[in-house]
Subunit: 331 residues, 2 copies
């Protein structure tokens, strides 16, 4: 039984199934505060692509022939730790293994009574925190302003747009299918959606959807969508760069519209981030997200794939835009 997924090779361009390798590794038994856990839900996220390369980045690259890691919700099967009990559920950044013995010091308990377990990988996990903290700390949205979100139907983007609406902004989302665009307005309450795949002229589409210009741009994708937003920014605009999925799989960084003239003429700000930059605000942010969820002010979408063996494919599907909302694998 193959119970572990290793990085088999570093992708050139688009990752492939062959970049992953399934192996069987001994699980062992817990001792000295350790616990034995079984993975229930595994998060697959675009940012993992970066860690598969060995380029300098904000987190060290995955090592070849070692397991990939990502956010996982697991059940405690056996415990030598007084805090964690058999039957508890925990979450943290963990290797892609069916079962494993771990020192739980970086794991948090999660409560299946309060919210479905998978949401701790999504709206109540790093996904929600990324949306909330990127938007509030960099975007600094003010009531009445206009917010544009790219990758708007994705896990982070759909939460960003909803928070924008809660805070009283005009919210426009960009996504890659008519079905997703429809969901932006009908399910997530965005004011407008734009299907970039059927739009010839992004700059004009953004201008039409944002009659007062763009004050805040939450960017998950980069590329031509961002070029189209850039020409529509207002004075003192803030652009939070959360990801650049449009270029993750390129073998060289592509050319894009030079941003400097737009930033200087508008005194605008563009800032990249990862959620861990704001670790000191996780408590406050989690509380706010949980409250909005409870008040039904936030809804979420999940694309749930079943089976440990389908984790690599679920990850690859992210780059085809096959997910709506958070992509999660139920083991």
């Amino acid at each position: 039984m193959k119970n572990t997924i290793l990085l088999n090779s570093r992708p050139e361009g688009k990752p492939q199934e062959s970049d992953f390798k399934f192996v069987n590794q001994e699980v062992g038994t817990p001792s000295n505060n350790e616990i034995l856990i079984e993975s229930k839900y595994v998060s697959v996220d675009p940012y993992l692509r970066g860690r598969m390369s060995d380029a300098k980045s904000y987190v060290p690259p995955f090592k070849l022939n070692e397991p990939i890691t990502s956010g996982i919700v697991a059940e405690v099967l056996q415990s030598e730790n007084s805090y964690f009990k058999k039957g508890d559920f925990v979450t943290g950044n963990l290797p892609w293994k069916k079962q494993q013995v771990v020192n739980p010091e970086n794991l948090q308990k999660v409560d299946p009574e309060k919210a479905p377990l998978s949401t701790y990988l999504g709206i109540l996990g790093l996904t929600g925190l990324t949306a909330y903290l990127g938007l509030t700390e960099i975007g600094k949205p003010k009531k009445g302003e206009t917010l544009v979100v790219s990758g708007a139907a994705g896990a982070v983007g759909s939460v960003v747009g909803q928070i924008g609406k809660i805070l009283g902004l005009h919210v426009v989302g960009v996504a890659g299918s008519d079905e997703k665009v429809e969901m932006l307005t009908s399910k997530f309450g965005f004011d407008k959606g734009i299907n970039y795949k059927t739009t010839d002229n992004m700059a004009k589409a953004i201008a039409d959807a944002c009659p007062n210009g763009v004050d805040v741009y939450f960017d998950n994708v980069g590329g031509e969508i961002s070029d189209g937003v850039l020409v529509n920014i207002n004075k003192f605009a803030r652009i939070a760069i959360c990801g650049a999925i449009a270029v993750y799989n390129k073998t060289s960084i592509p050319k894009a519209l030079a941003v400097q003239p737009f930033l200087v003429k508008n005194s605008a700000l563009m800032q990249g981030f990862i959620v861990s930059n704001y670790q000191d605000k996780f408590g406050e942010a989690s509380k706010q997200l949980a409250q909005w969820l409870q008040e039904d002010k936030l809804v979420y979408e999940e694309t749930m794939v079943k089976g440990f063996e389908n984790i690599p494919q679920a990850f690859l599907d992210l780059f085809e835009g096959k997910n709506k909302g958070k992509m999660v694998v139920q083991v």
Copy 2:
């Protein structure tokens, strides 16, 4: 006698002499708190190029057939104002006229005993404030970090680098001739200079000059120089965009390296600004600059052109890099 310079046409690409028109306009006599002044020194600056176009920008465009305005130091010839006396010198943003009657409410008195009059257009004027406030407010330099400055031999860049040295940074400047590069180290105290015109590979040149990577980039030019810096930025780098002279004269915004992947993987910030964003800090900044100048910690370079009739040509020469330090016309 032609005493006034008007905007004759909006330049397409590079401005030309024919975009300016010399005319004679009546001067009049002062009344009701007005003063009659005579221009002594006129500042020509790259940012004026932006105002010659009618594109949306941070300041309204110049109007056709009306005078260009810029920083001017003038002498009071006649006064109907109790605060300003004949023989006083004043500075402010003023039309390109030899003599004019103005309401002086936006003018400041300057003291020729404390510093040469032209410095009030340069290191003790908006140029110095731009350098100081862009570097400190956006760049947030910390002792021991590495600062790169583009347009380093220019009016703003040469001051930025010197402030970097005062604050204890490793400072690298990029300029466009061997003579300028020599001046960076010998006159302004930069640690290293790079001549971009004789450098094949900017990214490598920056890497060689910045063994610890780039923490702060003060960008006056944009274009390929900035692309070369971008690939060398460190985590949490700060990029202050002061200008984009490399693209001001292009008829369409050129393509450049996509910045988003670099910003996101380094959690880096890029922010455009104009000095007036920090008007509330002018007092404090001016005091600091004057003190450093007095202590001989700051030196400055001026390129002085003589004659009112040469103002347009002095402006055009900026785009050929013919100035070292601040370009000023002595009327």
